[in-house]
Subunit: 265 residues, 2 copies
Amino acid sequence: MAREKSGRADPARTLALLWRTGEGPTRGPKQGLTVDRIVRAAVEIADADGIGALSMRAVAERLGVGTMSLYTYVPGKAELLHVMFDTVLGESALPDAAGLDWRTALERHARADHALAQRHPWVVQLWGPGLLLMGPRVTARADSALRTVADLGLTEAEMTHVVGLVDAYVRGITQVAVDVNRDAVTSGVGYEDWWAESTPYLERLIQPARFPTLTRVWAAGSYEEAPDAGFEFGLGLVLDGIETLIRSRRPAPAVAPAQSPAPQE
Amino acid sequence: MAREKSGRADPARTLALLWRTGEGPTRGPKQGLTVDRIVRAAVEIADADGIGALSMRAVAERLGVGTMSLYTYVPGKAELLHVMFDTVLGESALPDAAGLDWRTALERHARADHALAQRHPWVVQLWGPGLLLMGPRVTARADSALRTVADLGLTEAEMTHVVGLVDAYVRGITQVAVDVNRDAVTSGVGYEDWWAESTPYLERLIQPARFPTLTRVWAAGSYEEAPDAGFEFGLGLVLDGIETLIRSRRPAPAVAPAQSPAPQE
DNA sequence: CGCCGTACCGTACGTCATACGGAGTTGGCG
DNA sequence: CGCCAACTCCGTATGACGTACGGTACGGCG
């Protein structure tokens, strides 16, 4: 059942695009566009109206060129998305691991990713496939993240998994918040409106007898905060978990630096 | 900039669909289809060929009806996706919190979600918006998950965040694995093929001097395992983190957790 | 100077969700 | 019983989308 898809999905071409290796042509008319200009236009559209509004036509129109001209610079939309992802990842400066304890460094990584997703909500939708592709910024970020846990006595596999854990958490928690907003934007209804309109129905459907704990939590108002209100809280717990691992690997750390911190606002 | 989208996104209608409240018509021809049959067909298509292959046409064809007939039972594709999500969530039995310590119960929840995503890879793409909608299975699952941490001395907000933490982790870690497979399927290239074909280029681009830690980890072979190989490992750390919180709230847990606490409620 | 590789892009194709309206069907009421 | 409003089914059409194809005009190199 393998669908051939003509000449698509060429790793060499895609990597050349991501790393900007690839010589321009020597013959023919001057190039009127650059990959960078195309990517910038695409990012602007995605930021403004969501990734659903990002079409090749829209990008071309914003640049004042014909739609098909884009295909001179970019093999297709999928590759454009990959380059967009890698480009935007380069916006946030990587924390300098040197001089930072692992916990602070990892924390900064997590917060940077979270902040990035606020600025460019569409990145969460590309996060998975983007990682696979290994553009220069993704690579730099992966290296930097791994460096934060490099000298703690962990095996390489453990390092990978620890970083993967933080990434997974940030991705997951961010997604909820972003998706809610995206739904609100694309449906034109708005989170508050939608919620207000559904509450009467939900209150009839979700009876305390069937869902006792949920209703208790609901009554306490916990569902009225922003969906990722617990970001810092959960991040703290994740890092606590990692701390138990690291302590178990380094059996006698001269002084335990921080008790389990509970000063969560 | 509010786009009106005619009569779309009606919470009352969507909730009625999810909870199956809503009387059938009394007049007119007999109904030849049911929402359940439509949902089942749609799930089969999504399981077999990915959510990208799920079109209203495809569903109708599989049922042997005209495309537009579906719109008699379902307001649109978005709502169909919501019902699909809520339906498959009901497949995995909820762990019975009574008699289980919180850690085991939460663990089972996490593993059930993870297993669900293996069976129906497309759920990870709906996870965010699905939660917002509060169908019966989503509601039951939320209640059950909250119950696992109900009697541990946590505030309601903390309960929400603890459950949200586990959910976020599972979602994030699962997504990577699923997305990789999805890319492989839809591009027709295959994970191994793609990787094999890109490796020569990547080895030229990713130089040890620029990315020392990444290359070290790479050389150790950590990138050759399945992308979610660290699932259990990371889950353990997450639960460890939660454990530090719970211990800090219950300052003196007299003995081992095997001690049976008075069954609340 | 002239050739040919290249940039630009108009047009076209196949796909999608779904709006609209007509034809056929049925149950409840008069 | 007979009628008609309410309903199901669905053919057709619209406007999006990604992108294949081929024509035209340009410009560096032989």
